[in-house]
Chain length 529, copies 2
């Protein structure tokens, strides 16, 4: 495996000598989306390309003043950092602490309002690029070869269209895969392709298939109501002609989906959909000295790594005590990334850190389990290193992600609002002591590593392909040119039905005509007799 | 590109050092199917694996006495070479000289009978393996890691099942993609995925979509009648339990489809379908001295390469004269592979050869056009080297293949039964003089070469993957476990329809009840008044 990796590096280095540098424009993004795009961009710079990243004046995680090998194109947005943070915290609070106690209608209404607020912010960001003459002038004069974007941050498709350059998407998922299905034409039979965030697997009984069917339908209606109508209006205003945002999205040359069959369930896909889950994964580096000493002190029992991700800094004091009590009952040493007040119940085996080198810890031979909020980046690092998980999912795709890991036998799920000290302790003990969890994690790790090309190399290949060939039209299915009823052959079926009915009608009429003739002859004969 | 290829070779060589040799059993095949499997097997031997090929005692093209690096497992079949040749010639004659003059019903009946005869031969071949105790004993004792087969030659799925080993298919296509769709669960919406051999493209108007829909349906019925019923009976007899051959076929771990988006139209597919068209393609080697002299004598006009493949040795004298007249009118020199009597009209620019090094000629810089019968192997060599084509398709997939090349702007089609000297001459002149044909051929060539991995490397990777991991179950969609109505969510739709109707009924009844109550009150009131 090492040999293959080193030859892959050689392959890229050699090709770098060959490649004539192109110009890549990167649409703004944030947090885990940006974490995933960065290694691709770093590699593109290594390979002699020039990378220019659009950065808004207000951003939670992007920082254009950091020393970097990228060029930054700053644009003004009429949103304060406080407003952005407030919206973000409201969303998190809803998902983490409110949703579990609401009925479906309340969830729908709250979610609808949150998304509506979020959309207003989206348009202010869009104004900063599309309504700014100096920015658009600069972008046009930049003569970029490709626009690279996470479509979660709207507007890249319209910008690529205006600039007349190819577009490559990097996407984890859209709700119920609405964009991939409706705009990208990705076939997704609801009978065995669970909608993203549905918390279903590919093995569904009748009621689950019904749920998934309704999940697709309801999300499609909601997204149409919340998103497409207003985005279409905005796009049409900018372009000065009626414009469908979904149609523009469907013009993307390549969709790099940040998943693979280690994490996702196998499903139908299209030639321009490439599965590059785990782009940011890499081998573990040595730990800082004091951390290594703490890890080594665990002896044969090993360690447990615990973090709820960068977006949730702390939990309530009550929850922190509950968690600390559970951790204290483990024979393992625990490294907990936590920024809150030290819990009273903290055991001597648990050490709190304000930051941990998560990937290096997950790759450490002493690591027995990973307690995670279930973000895809963390899960992918655990898959890469073959570490079983306990998931305490919080929001967005996290509950669904953990359902995937549970279905593949590599994780146990705990609910933050309903878990107890005992249930958390037992869950951690289970993934450590029941060998099947480790075996399944190692199986997923083998699937992750044993593929023709690393996800990073594959992503870089297809971005460069798009630049070299000014797009990737030969991978685009003709389905984009069909209406929904043509796609499903409903017009053909209707035609065949009409023909059938006509034939039956003619047959019926002919028979009844013959029958009448026959009867009338007999009657005439009888009368004559 | 050269650098990338050489690093690919390095990658394979290094991995060869790493790979511990496995044991590969190869199902018998013949002609172009065998040509495509051979380079894969040669590479597998290079990489330290042991390859054992099942060879029938009667075969048109396979020869176990040739010196080879493969081991051969010979099995007896109760079919004479003459019988095999006769059936083969009857099929060819029907396709080449009869079909054009028949109506659809006549074609259907003739085809049905031909396939029925062919199936009897198939069962005799199957008897040679599955009903031969010594052969089955040897195969069981062989402890093979994988069975590699072209499913056109039936029985490999049952054998893999009996031996309990993984199965990798190498397939060009099945008629109307029936096996890929019905057994492999490959999604194929008839609205934009033309059925194999339908002579349609992915751009279809209403009548073409109707044709394609009916083509799928009719072929499914015909294949069910001709094939599945009797094969199921045969398989059930061997296994001693009711067995569905299609279900067994669906258990294949990997389907290596011998096509790619240079030749085929982009379409939906599944994680265990890999597109490896052009496996046998390779750079051109220098020509024999006298042939090189003849080629060089063409000067700036260049040469035309003409062959109708290994399966059609000669055409009628009349056709040969017509072709020779057309070739005589070209300014190019022509190299014609032909084994018949020298045509009277042969021009001085045309030289006849009993055999030509086709790939080396197509890769020669002087080559301007390729006149071909439209077999996939020849077409792929032309794509590899970027040579425009004139197709004179004969039978099987050839007419459909040429429709693909015509739709992609790299070929002109001629009908052997209806072409004239002038039409053939004009077709050749068009592909040489109209620059668009060469440009399109070069575009297809770029698509062919510019992919993350060569088709040969990809095929080898997935066979080895299957051996390493004892299958590739993580790539298998859950659709295999669903009935057809579950797959299409018809049970869910029926349920929702019933609920809807019930609700409407309840609403109607409630309204009519309220209305009646309301009316009766009014009447009582009036009476009281």
């Amino acid at each position: 495996m090492k040999l293959r990796l080193s030859v892959c590096v050689l392959l890229l280095l050699c090709a770098a000598e060959n490649s004539s540098g192109g110009k890549i424009l990167v649409w703004y993004s944030d947090n885990s989306h940006w974490i995933n795009m960065k290694p691709v961009l770093e590699t593109l710079v290594d390979r002699g390309h020039q990378v220019t990243v659009l950065v808004p004046s207000t951003s939670l995680f992007m920082n254009s003043s950091e020393p970097s090998r990228f060029q930054y194109e700053l644009f003004d947005v009429d949103v304060s950092f406080e407003d952005l943070e407030k919206i973000f915290e409201t969303i998190i609070h809803f998902f983490v602490y409110e949703m579990d106690f609401m009925n479906p209608l309340e969830i729908y209404i709250k979610f609808y309002n949150l998304m509506k607020n979020n959309k207003n912010i989206t348009f202010k960001f869009l104004d900063g690029v599309l309504k700014s003459e100096p920015i658009m002038k600069k972008l046009k004069e930049g003569n970029y070869d490709v626009l690279f974007a996470d479509p979660i941050y709207a507007g890249s498709d319209l910008t690529a269209d205006i600039l007349g350059i190819p577009l490559v998407f990097s996407l984890c998922f859209s709700l119920a895969n609405n964009w991939e299905r409706m705009c990208g034409q990705l076939p997704s039979p609801p009978s065995f392709v669970p909608g993203a965030a549905s918390k279903l697997t590919d093995k569904m009984d009748f009621s689950e298939r019904l749920s998934n069917f309704l999940f697709y339908a309801l999300q499609d209606v909601m997204i149409d109501q919340i998103m497409w109508k207003e985005v279409d209006e905005y796009y049409s205003e900018i372009r000065g002609t009626p414009t469908s945002a979904c149609e523009l999205m469907g013009k993307a040359d390549i969709w790099l989906l940040r998943t693979y069959w280690d994490f996702d369930f196998p499903r139908p896909f299209l030639p321009n959909f490439k599965f590059v889950g785990g782009i940011h994964c890499k081998p573990a580096k040595p730990l800082p000295k004091d951390m290594e000493e703490f890890v080594q002190s665990s002896g044969e029992n090993g360690i447990v790594v615990f973090t709820l991700g960068s977006m949730i800094k702390n939990v309530t004091t009550e929850k922190a005590n509950l968690i600390a009590s559970a951790l204290a009952q483990l024979p393992q040493k625990v490294l907990w990334r936590y920024n809150g007040e030290k819990p009273k119940t903290l055991g001597s085996n648990t050490r709190i850190f304000s930051w941990i080198p998560q990937n290096d810890l997950l790759g450490h031979p002493k690591t027995k389990a990973f307690i995670t909020h279930g973000g895809t980046n963390g899960i992918y690092e655990a898959i890469y290193h073959g570490v079983p998980m306990v998931g305490i999912p919080m929001f967005a795709d996290q509950p669904d992600n953990m359902v995937h890991m549970e279905a593949k036998g590599a994780a146990v799920i705990q609910n933050l609002n309903f878990m107890t000290t005992e249930s958390l302790r037992d869950a951690i003990k289970a993934v450590i002591n029941d060998k099947s969890y480790k075996e399944n994690a190692m199986r997923l790790s083998r699937i992750h590593h044993d593929r023709p090309m690393s996800p990073l190399d594959e992503a870089v290949f297809w971005i460069e392909f798009t630049m070299r060939n000014k797009g990737a039209k030969h991978l685009r299915v003709q389905a984009h040119e069909l209406t929904w009823y043509q796609y499903h052959s409903l017009d053909v079926l209707a035609f065949l039905l009409i023909i059938d009915l006509l034939l039956i009608f003619i047959l019926f009429k002919s028979c009844s005509f013959c029958f009448k003739r026959c009867c009338s002859r007999k009657q005439t004969k009888r009368k004559a007799e």
